[in-house]
């Protein structure tokens, strides 16, 4: 699989910061999309977020990006819709190919008509928490080479972190790239337990857990281990046992 090092993630983060500085705006999902277009050799990028149960445009670098989302919502199918329903990444070299047309008989011809030829949709998710989709598209058909795919995944990871930080009301800019231990299974088990304890959905439970770790200045992994070991419970009226 395309795989990147922490150093590469830092490099991609730097590109986004540079783009923000160039535009004289703060780092945001919009600057991330602009930086992706500048660095990945794609013609556009669109970030969709979930507010209503359907993909909605968070930001797009051009009107084609907005159009591609709009089409998927209208016809009820497409890579971003599949991801919303639990699918993985959809890396489509050629929207006009028979396999693409068969997979999305309504969306694919309309996307081609709108001008897109290749579409790479990357889920921004943590298990059942579907935060958004980062879609990159090109006007010419063709696959992403291994190095570009690797960088695309790094952009997607940074987009995920950015959106998760927003959900948890944390401003983690400048934070260590590893302060979110998503590879630790106990963090996800603890999220499930907190969801049950507080009667919340997974996204809110995860945000709650992160915000609590931040407020108490403890590592998320440590707090999660305490929750899983039942040394710590979250109750609707507070956190301490």
């Amino acid at each position: 699989m395309a795989r990147y090092t922490t150093g590469r993630l830092v490099q991609v983060g730097r590109w986004i910061a540079e783009k923000a500085a160039e535009l004289d705006v703060p780092v945001s999902a919009a600057t991330l999309c602009r930086a992706a277009v500048a660095r990945l050799g794609v013609s556009g990028a669109v970030l969709t977020v979930d507010t209503s149960g359907w993909p909605e445009v968070g930001c797009a670098t051009d009107v084609l990006g907005e159009r591609l989302v709009e089409l998927q919502v209208t016809v009820g199918e497409g890579p971003a819709v599949d991801i919303w329903r639990g699918g993985g990444p959809a890396l489509i070299d050629d929207l006009d190919a028979p396999s693409s047309q068969a997979r999305w008989p309504l969306f694919a011809p309309l996307a081609v008509e709108a001008g897109a030829a290749a579409l790479f949709a990357l889920p921004l998710c943590v298990g059942a928490i579907r935060v958004g989709v980062l879609s990159l598209y090109r006007l010419d058909a063709g696959h992403l080479d291994a190095a570009t795919l690797t960088d695309s995944l790094a952009f997607a990871e940074l987009a995920l972190r950015l959106l998760l930080d927003e959900q948890a009301n944390l401003n983690a800019t400048g934070g260590d790239a590893d302060d979110l231990p998503l590879h630790n299974p106990q963090v996800h088990q603890a999220t499930g337990m907190v969801a049950a304890q507080l009667g919340l959905g997974m996204a809110d439970a995860f945000a709650h857990l992160r915000a609590r770790a931040f407020a108490e200045q403890v590592p998320l992994s440590g707090l999660a281990a305490d929750v899983v070991a039942r040394r710590r419970r979250f109750d609707r009226d507070g956190g301490r046992p």
Partner: protein, 248 residues
């Protein structure tokens, strides 16, 4: 090793591969068969994520101590070495200690294991993960068991990568990312079930898996439906309807 059982296992795995199957469930079946066929006491399959960190995808036993042994191997251990070098790594006598992985060796010994093996999962020139085998007794894994382990690992790789495109890095990325995220969903569901039913993680996992089996559903779908509330947690304890099971 029971030759007939081995043949049955390969038939079972091949049968799974032709259907639309759940990767996580398939890999769980595979690690369970490892324990049964290779005379090992625990097995786990780890895949590297997009950052090169090893993540547990399936294990024969979800006890916390064993999970910690897998988790620890992001810092040191046989799986990390097998992944980094692409070759099999073993420690036939953990009680002798080891300078190579002091923390891992100590934790594995404390968990009651005497020997460990790690077999890399390879796809062409790329290593995508490793199979970890634990035995309570010390000693080398015999040659036949090793051959079988390698064959099972190859089947796991094939199961992950249903070749659909010449751009294999794209397909592999799609499959691995999906599998890794499904595992996260299962972990979230385990936490939810453990809390609601007041059981430990292992029991929660067994309940999810049994429900999926009994209803012929994908494990990741059951995990998802438990999270969204489409399956009520107490239902997990019910036997499937229409299977003729007698209720006392």
């Amino acid at each position: 090793m029971d030759g007939e059982r081995l043949v049955e296992t390969f038939v079972e795995l091949a049968d799974t591969l032709v259907d639309d199957f759940d990767v996580i469930d398939f890999l769980h079946m595979l690690v369970d068969r490892c324990v049964e066929l290779l005379d090992v006491d625990a097995a786990g399959l780890l895949l590297a994520d997009q950052r090169g960190r090893l993540q547990l995808i399936a294990t024969s036993n979800e006890q916390a101590r064993l999970l910690e042994l897998f988790q620890l191997q992001n810092d040191e251990g046989p799986c990390l070495d097998a992944f980094a070098t692409g070759t099999r790594v073993s420690h036939p006598d953990l009680a002798q200690g080891g300078r190579r992985w002091p923390r891992f060796t100590a934790a594995a010994t404390e968990a009651g294991f005497g020997a460990v093996d790690a077999v890399p999962m390879r796809l062409r020139d790329e290593v995508i993960g490793a199979l970890n085998l634990f035995r309570t007794r010390s000693g080398e894994l015999d040659a036949a068991a090793l051959r079988t382990a390698t064959a099972l690992v190859d089947i796991a790789t094939i199961g992950l990568l249903q070749q659909r495109s010449i751009h294999h890095h794209q397909v592999l990325t799609e499959q691995l990312q999906t599998a890794l995220n499904s595992r996260v969903t299962v972990e979230q569901a385990k936490g939810l079930v453990a809390e609601r039913l007041h059981v430990d993680m292992d029991t929660a996992f067994t309940a999810l898996r049994r429900y999926a089996r009994g209803h012929n559903l994908k494990l990741s779908l059951v995990a998802h439906d438990v999270i969204t509330g489409e399956i009520n947690t107490p239902q997990l304890l019910n036997p499937p309807t229409g299977t003729g099971q007698l209720r006392r």
